[in-house]
Amino acid sequence: MKCWLLLLLLATCCAGADQPDRRSGYSLLGPDLRALQDDDFANPGMLWVDRGERLWNAASGPNQQSCRDCHGDPVNLRDLANRLPRFDATTNRLDNLDMLIRQCRTQRQQAEALTHESEDLLALTTLVAHQSRGLPLEVVVDGPASTAFEQGRASFERRRGQLDLSCADCHEKLRGARLRGETISAGMVNGFPLYRLTWEGLGSRQRMIRWCNEAVRAKPMDPESQRALALELYLAWRSRGLALEAPAVRR
């Protein structure tokens, strides 16, 4: 962690431009990792897609229903993940994919709840997000969503943690700078859920937010809080137009 700090200070002097740049993190990958993401067999994220398929077909709850019994093929949920988070005017709150699946699981399937970031939930979110691969990210940020959107933007720009850095400091001002072997990207979310070699596993957008928060030694956010979802909404809006890549591969 001390190394981060030091290198960050070094990196500051070579900070890049801060005009908006919506380039997928894929563009920063070398040929080997691009090939890994593009290889639908060897992409390790596909292990979660497989597991998601098994769960999709597994009967559960008092009525022994599977996701398939009600939804049919997972492809029926195409064009969903790319539009999330989304504001629900009836409940007056934002939902992301994890929450929609968790709600459906407990309320409609009436099966035991899936815990946040559990491998089962990740498998289902990856399966569903994978259906929208190639579709452009497109979230609604006006109307009733506008307050949350502005909160998300403010959160992105607010300095935080012992390093006193905002998301924008790194992903806009320091974009392109090297940080202990990493190149700081524009902080796009079109790849999620994605396989990070650093994690040796799959993670959601909220896990990435937690990771970045910890990197600057900031207090973690509750991943299901409206605050965290507002930030996710802003991130999705920043990534608008980029093709969804789930499951992407990143360093």
Partner: protein
């Protein structure tokens, strides 16, 4: 994540054709060298062996060590000579075993 495999095995080949088997299996390959945030060593948990039987013959076996990346990927090739069962097998240091079976039909020209 529980042990499960993705495998790509052709089901048909011409006699003498070189075919490839690709495998990917979910396993953390915890090295035993890593230290957690409390300074405690994370105990080793790895797959130790991978093998392939083709028509009853063990044609390939592989010792897996901590230097193999998490979610191990292994690909290899062989000459299809007879029709027969293909059995891929992974063994872990906790006694776990995962087996994937399929059949290769060899067509004589």
């Amino acid at each position: 994540m529980s042990l499960s495999a993705r495998v790509r095995i052709p089901t048909e080949a011409r006699a003498g054709e070189v075919i490839e088997i690709r495998t990917l299996v979910s396993h953390p390959m915890e090295t035993g060298f890593r230290v957690d945030s409390f300074g405690r060593r994370v105990p080793r948990k790895i797959l130790t062996r991978f093998s392939c039987h083709y028509d009853g013959r063990e044609i390939v076996s592989m010792d897996l060590r901590p230097g193999i990346a998490a979610n191990p990927y292994v690909a290899f090739r062989f000459v299809a000579d007879v029709s027969g069962a293909i059995e891929l097998r992974w063994e872990g240091d906790e006694g776990e075993v995962l087996i994937e079976r399929s059949h290769l039909e060899v067509i004589r020209a």
